[in-house]
């Protein structure tokens, strides 16, 4: 199987988010970066599928030159090759992101294109669907289990505590959610190989955005007062009183 995984570089936000002076970005001066969580699971899933069925894996990202770090993280986990669609740092909206990915992969042959269900930062929930439509491929999103059975993928989505099962003919686009697996840590040989690997780099045009960011706003936290019910097990009678007041026990 030939598998493509699309990932996004996102900051590792701490307890509080601070914005840049122009309010268009998160101030990342003191932050590290990571692969967005659902997509890290997509990387792991690609590795497991190829370990089980043979084939090759490619990781792709759209982002600034520094996003090479996330490609190398994926290579260190075991992905075979990396493609960087390099931007000047200005955000691409979901339509522009999908268009750039489609341009980059249109002439390549993949059996499976894996995405995260939504990026941790922008949370747009649509890039996978847009890419699939442009390539004329079937698409399922929010998947937490994939099996390959001959020419099709059997994909499972959690729904109301149970599961919906989809059978999708390959080639296909699947977006996954965290929980499909626990991603591995990169190995030392993997890191060494990743450090030296050549990345294929191109600079896509940024299509005019249909969803155009004006500015970011850190939501104001409503003032809150906490009632301390007590310390240690002696607080139990007071806790039960509160449970009764709230009507959760009779």
């Amino acid at each position: 199987m030939e598998i493509l995984v699309c990932v996004k570089r996102v900051p590792e936000t701490g307890a509080r988010i601070t914005l840049t002076a122009d309010e268009r970005e998160i101030d990342t001066s003191y932050l590290g970066f990571t692969i967005s969580p659902h997509e890290e699971c997509a990387v792991e899933e690609a590795l497991r599928l190829v370990e089980a069925h043979g084939g090759s894996t490619t990781v792709l990202t759209l982002g600034p030159a520094a996003a090479a770090e996330q490609l190398r993280n994926a290579l260190a986990m075991g992905i075979g090759s990396g493609i960087l669609l390099e931007t000047d740092g200005e955000e691409f909206d979901p339509g522009a992101t999908a268009a750039a990915i489609v341009d980059a992969v249109r002439d390549r042959r993949f059996d499976l294109l894996l995405f995260g269900n939504e990026a941790a930062d922008s949370g747009d929930y649509q890039v996978a669907v847009r890419v699939a439509a442009a390539l004329g491929l079937p698409c399922v999103t929010g998947i937490k289990g994939i099996e390959i059975d001959g020419g099709k993928a059997i994909a499972r989505r959690e729904a109301s505590g149970g599961w919906e099962v989809y059978e999708v003919p390959l080639p296909a686009v699947i977006s996954v959610k965290e929980g499909i697996n626990l991603p591995r840590f990169p190995s030392l040989p993997g890191r060494l190989r990743a450090k030296k690997a050549e990345l294929e780099t191109s600079t896509p045009e940024r299509r005019a955005p249909g969803l155009e960011k004006v500015r970011l706003v850190v939501p104001v936290e409503e003032p809150n007062t906490v009632e301390i019910l007590g310390e240690g097990p002696e607080a139990a009678p007071r806790v039960v009183e509160v449970l009764k007041e709230l009507g959760v026990v009779s």
Binding site: L216, E227, G232, A235, G247
Partner: protein, 299 residues
């Protein structure tokens, strides 16, 4: 007119409340119309089984026939997926997880990023505006409840619209309380200490008729299955009471439980972020406190 794609459940009531602020509202449902929507007209599409392409194609047909200013859906799994397919069919942009919108040219929307710990103000261009509403980002308000007019819709599907559909379904074990629907949730974090430590949370949840959940740390450590995760990459809960045991209250966790009406934090650290954001707190060792609460409840 604002066309709202509705599913059974509270999230669609939130989406309807959001849409009423934008103009007159009509709803579209699949299979049958849920009760209590508070709209004058519901278009009922004759498709039962979920197939995102077919549902989006049905919506595209209604957009062509009814010419709404916007199509709004809940930011549920299906809401996001169907709206993304609709966006492709109409060749329009889509704004996910909105909490406010102002019609105009373009529309101005406020939407959640980072699961709601950051907001974005954006211009939404296009001729039909496509928006999903952030789960629990809007408080559902009841509307006039006259019986709606039901309009049957037979969709005109294209080849391939039914190519991806639910081929079978595995139901949850009978009697299990779903995290997203539970009126009481007992959640555990790193402070629970081990997978075995959750037995005390299970016992309390059982007494309260609630569900057990956990933080991302807990599911990443394998103490609980991922389906129990509360947070940005897990479930969004909206119980009457969330009892957070040994949960520090990282931003990614708090966005998952901000729908809770009340929070009771049990934590050994009075400085833990969750304590500052809770309504009630008990400070101390949860391995002593939880059994004491259970004993008191059984008395």
């Amino acid at each position: 007119m604002i066309l709202v794609f509705v599913e059974p459940g509270d999230l669609s009531l939130e989406a309807l409340t959001f849409a009423r602020g934008l103009g007159p509202v009509e709803a579209v449902a699949f299979g049958s119309a849920p009760d209590g929507l508070g709209v004058s007209r519901v278009h009922v599409v004759a498709l039962d089984e979920y197939a995102p392409g077919a549902w989006a194609q049905s919506l595209a047909g209604l957009v062509e026939a009814l010419r709404p200013d916007a199509v709004v859906a809940a930011g549920s799994d299906r809401g996001q997926e169907v709206m993304a397919h609709l966006a492709v069919r109409l060749d329009e942009p889509m704004a996910a997880n909105c909490i406010a919108a102002t019609p105009g040219d373009p529309w101005l929307v406020t939407r959640q990023r980072w699961g709601g710990s950051l907001l974005e103000e954006a211009r939404l261009h296009g001729t039909v505006r496509l928006l999903t509403v952030a789960p629990h980002g809007v408080v559902a308000e009841p509307a006039a409840t006259a019986e709606p007019e039901l309009v049957s819709v037979t969709p005109e599907l294209r080849d391939g619209d039914l190519g991806v559909k639910v081929s079978r379904r595995e139901e949850p074990a009978a009697g299990t309380v779903q995290l997203g629907d539970a009126r009481v949730v007992v959640g555990g974090g790193r402070g629970v200490g081990s997978a075995e430590g959750f037995a005390a949370l299970e016992e309390l949840a059982a007494l309260l008729g609630g569900a057990v959940g956990g933080s991302r740390v807990v599911t990443n450590l394998g103490w609980r299955p991922h389906s129990d995760q509360i947070g940005q990459t897990g479930a969004r809960i909206a119980p009457d009471l969330y009892i957070a045991c040994g949960v520090s209250g990282a931003i990614q966790h708090m966005v998952g439980c901000k729908g809770a009406k009340r929070i009771l934090a049990i934590n050994k650290d009075p400085q833990a972020p969750i304590v500052a954001r809770a309504d009630y707190a008990v400070i101390g060792d949860l391995t002593e406190i939880l059994p004491a609460i259970v004993a008191e409840l059984k008395r």
